[in-house]
């Protein structure tokens, strides 16, 4: 039996092609990209050795600090909002709507699958201020507030990005946490009810503690996705005004393709990878505590 299950030829046929593609497309480029961090130049004009200049530049570059700041600010805020709203939805599905929640779940989930570019362009129009107010400004004007040039300043543009991304991912976290809530054993809730726990005390003493593992994984998933944010920012603001809404990913993209500096671009990509590595380490730490991941 061992011999059949361990047959080398079969393993090579089944795993070989996948491993080959994976190695060529992911592993080799990762090492290669790390090598680029010591060079300057690009694919079209060639490369020259640059020592550790890319790294010294990294630590003094105000643009990197700004981009890193944006990424962290965005990731933290969005993670909190996604998980809080998602948890609210999950509680609504599980305890209020109960069996009739299927249709609501399906509707609220829909924006998750709509292409990011389409959503970003829609939000540009919703928050438009010139030549004509979009829906949001029309509402503000109607309740007596002035219209705002939403995408014209860094702070308000940041707000629009956050609103947009919460809007489109809320349904996703709703369903993710909902499935977690369904896994709470029925008899625990039942016995708590028999002991007289109702409403908020049932939530605080039973439901919340029991859903901590899935909340933890949701938070990690969310951070993992949000520190890589690119599409929504690129399509909505293009990083602007100026570079006020530029995350690391976009700064890396600009450095490489607008300023043709692959070496420095790779250095920024390395920073990003290290951030992802830290988050992944957290996932593994969480996995030991909890078998849902």
């Amino acid at each position: 039996m061992k011999q059949v299950l361990g047959d080398r030829k079969t393993i090579a046929i089944l795993l070989g092609p996948a491993l080959l593609v994976y190695t060529l497309v992911i592993l080799v480029p990762v090492v290669w990209s790390f090598g680029y961090t010591f060079f300057k130049g690009n694919a079209l004009e060639g490369f020259e050795f640059n020592g550790i200049n890319n790294f010294t530049r990294l630590f003094t570059d105000p643009d990197v600090q700004a981009a890193l700041g944006f990424t962290v600010k965005y990731a933290l805020l969005l993670t909190i909002l996604q998980v809080v709203f998602g948890y609210g939805l999950a509680l609504l599905y599980t305890f209020v709507l109960k069996k009739s929640s299927a249709i609501i779940r399906t509707l609220v989930f829909f924006p998750v699958v709509v292409p990011t570019v389409a959503i970003a362009l829609l939000y540009q129009k919703l928050f438009q201020s010139a030549p004509k107010d979009g829906l949001v400004n029309e509402l503000l004007v109607n309740v007596g507030l002035g219209s705002v040039d939403w995408l014209g300043s860094g702070t308000t543009a940041f707000i629009v990005i956050v609103i947009m991304d919460v809007w489109r991912s809320m349904g996703f976290y709703g369903v993710l946490l909902y499935t977690g809530l369904l896994d709470i054993p029925e008899d625990i809730i039942e016995s708590a009810r028999i002991d007289g726990a109702r409403g908020f005390s049932l939530f605080k003493n039973i439901v919340l503690p029991m859903s901590l593992p899935i909340l933890y994984s949701s938070i990690i998933f969310s951070i993992n996705g949000t520190i890589k944010v690119f599409d929504s920012v690129f399509a909505l603001t293009g990083g602007g005004p100026g570079n006020e809404t530029t995350p690391l990913t976009l700064y890396m993209y600009r450095t490489a393709f607008a300023f043709s500096d692959y070496g420095y671009g790779s250095t920024i990509a390395l920073v990003l990878s290290i951030m992802c590595l830290i988050v992944t380490a957290l996932i593994f730490r969480g996995a030991r505590r909890d078998n849902t991941i």
């Binding site: 092609p17 593609v21 069996k99």
Partner: protein, 302 residues
Amino acid sequence: MTVTNVDNLDRTSALVKHDVGGRTPAPIRFLKRIPVLIVIGVLLVIEIYPLFWMFINSLKSNTDFLNNPSWALPEVWEWGNYVSAWLTGNLATTITNSLIATVPSLALIVILGVAGGFALEVMVFKGRGGILLLILAGIMIPVQMILLPLFTIFFNLNITGSLLPLIIIYTGHGLPLTIFMMATYFRAIPREVFEAATIDGSSMLRSFWYIGFPMVRNAVITVGLVQFFLIWNDLLIAITFASNRSLNTIQAGLLNFSGEYGATDYGPLFAAICITTGGILILYLFLNQQIMKGLTAGSVKG
């Protein structure tokens, strides 16, 4: 890492049995429901109305859009906007490009990924754990880390003028998550099944094809849907490797269209967004349960 078991998405909530229905009279029960109804109403308006708003604006002429409130219905229903979006937006080309990039990569991902997951989970060999760990690492690597070397390689191979780079990258980038998800699905099948088949004289390749593959058919659909959305909605790889106008995928094409005409041709821009969204909506209407299940199971991708 993931695998929040979402198989029971439709299981009637077990937590609900204690509904005290019956005891309270009907009108009071209705009053109690009002806050809930308001919450649901607000929720649906927030999530769905913007999509409807986009649709009504896709049917307005420019003067109509500029002079009337944006929530008003169109004065004249300009279905011609869809025609001009289709023609000026090059939608036929971009949709074809997206299909050319998506279909082969999806097929490759599924075939290679299912076989790889099977080998890693069912077969027994030294270094299995190491390979699995290596593949897990691939899930977390940001695309930015592989972008520049790949660009150099494809540039030197002289294939940057085709959609081949997209197919190659999508395949390689989709594999880790697929292998990982498939491995967890194969873990659920008792190994005895394959052992019995072996005793009956089946080779492992045969067992894979005639027993393993059919047993995870539903999982294959789930995994395929996850990868479909990741590839179809990708922007970063598409704008890097298919920046040439004639190679634009649907996302890149839409962005370019908006850049060139978006500030003046409102109706056609809205129409182009509607067309992009509409195709996905149709898919979602048929497969929403499976899509929700798949995307949350693949959530490690964020």
